[in-house]
């Protein structure tokens, strides 16, 4: 599976306008909010870069499975492609995931809480969320917002090789201007 992703952010005071527009553009469904706790684990070997896995759990939906995600390196293919493309593996797991990862040799690198809204349009997923830093490790009640903005993420998970998806994403992103300009992130700038 390969997700294509584009990112941007909006300041807090623009959130309502963006949500209003997304409600109009996206599939008709009950507004869905979420509150998730994500932990990023690393496994260091003699390879240059550690293996990264992301473990995510819902804090507001009791009984939901935990979610484990592997994201590969960004594909450096076609520069004209409008979205960042990476290999991904998504796994639903039981709630003893963190104990199991530690037993495998993984160590937690960082964690955060994400709170926001989820929208769908066909196979596209649009998430508008705020990231909160956890002040005391393991205590998700004590958090502080990382910034005054909400992150806007447009993503699609599709079988490898479907570049048509990237054009759909660009067309959708056009409709969100000028509220937010969704763009492909240059991964080298993040290093």
């Amino acid at each position: 599976m390969m997700p294509g992703t584009v990112f941007r952010s909006v300041l807090d005071h623009s959130l309502e306008s963006l949500i209003h527009r997304l409600r109009g553009l996206c599939d008709n469904m009950e507004p869905e909010t979420f509150l998730d706790h994500e932990m990023v684990f690393l496994l260091k070997g003699q390879q240059a870069s550690p293996f990264v896995l992301r473990a995510r759990r819902s804090m507001d939906r009791a009984g939901a499975p935990w979610h484990l995600r592997y994201l590969g390196q960004p594909e450096m293919g076609d520069k004209n492609r409008h979205a960042l493309v990476r290999n991904c593996v998504d796994i639903a797991t039981s709630e003893n995931l963190t104990d199991f990862l530690m037993e495998m040799g993984f160590r937690m690198d960082h964690e955060f809480v994400a709170r926001g809204h989820l929208f769908r349009k066909g196979i596209m997923k649009i998430v508008v969320y705020k990231i909160f830093r956890i002040l005391t490790p393991g205590n998700t009640d004590n958090t502080e917002a990382l910034s005054l903005s909400y992150l806007v993420e447009l993503s699609v998970v599709a079988p490898a090789g479907q570049d048509v998806v990237s054009d759909d994403m660009r067309n959708f992103a056009e409709q969100l201007k000028p509220l937010v300009h969704l763009e492909k992130i240059d991964p080298k700038r993040l290093m």
Binding site: L43, G45, F51, Y70, V89, L97, D99
Partner: protein, 214 residues
Amino acid sequence: MGVTCVSQMPVAEGKNVQQTVELLTRKLEMLGAEKQGTFCVDCETYHTAASTLGSQGQAGKLMYVMHNSEYPLSCFALFENGPCLVADTNFDVLMVKLKGFFQSAKASKIETRGTRYQYCDFLVKVGTVTMGPSARGISVEVEYGPCVVASDCWSLLLEFLQSFLGSHTPGAPTVFGNRHDAVYSPADTMVQYMELFNKIRKQQQVIEKRKPNQ
């Protein structure tokens, strides 16, 4: 899933694995059990790659990745005396990505395949345990469907086991342990299968060591 007991049936004197399985299944059919399809439980063993060991400074651990045809969309990953993770089958894809860190132990795949029998509230599975092309033993799994608390139904399970296993009836599985009132789960069954497979592997190693040099 109801409370389940997994045990090994020794091969009958003067008979081979297949003949012993046939003896057992005939006994079950005489009791009145009905055949209900087949089952398979398999186990692959992984060990931490040497490249990871050095940096972590710990002894290599064995991780078992198992599948059970009763739960076709699930995958079970466990460590001996450690946690058992229940995941969906994408976990197998993740193990391929992790091959630089976890390597499959040579010729480690072991599985048991056989027939399922329903007898009232009991589900009995008699399987031939194989490593590669060779049959190495016999597994017997008995599940009592209506009950999920081991301490509430172990006596009943034992009585049923005695009715067709006779003197080969096993003791209470170690997974029941001290958790008398805990709810039984499929992960407990997979731990029992892991213990059974390890026991059969060790028995096989002893047999290999005893073989005279050619």
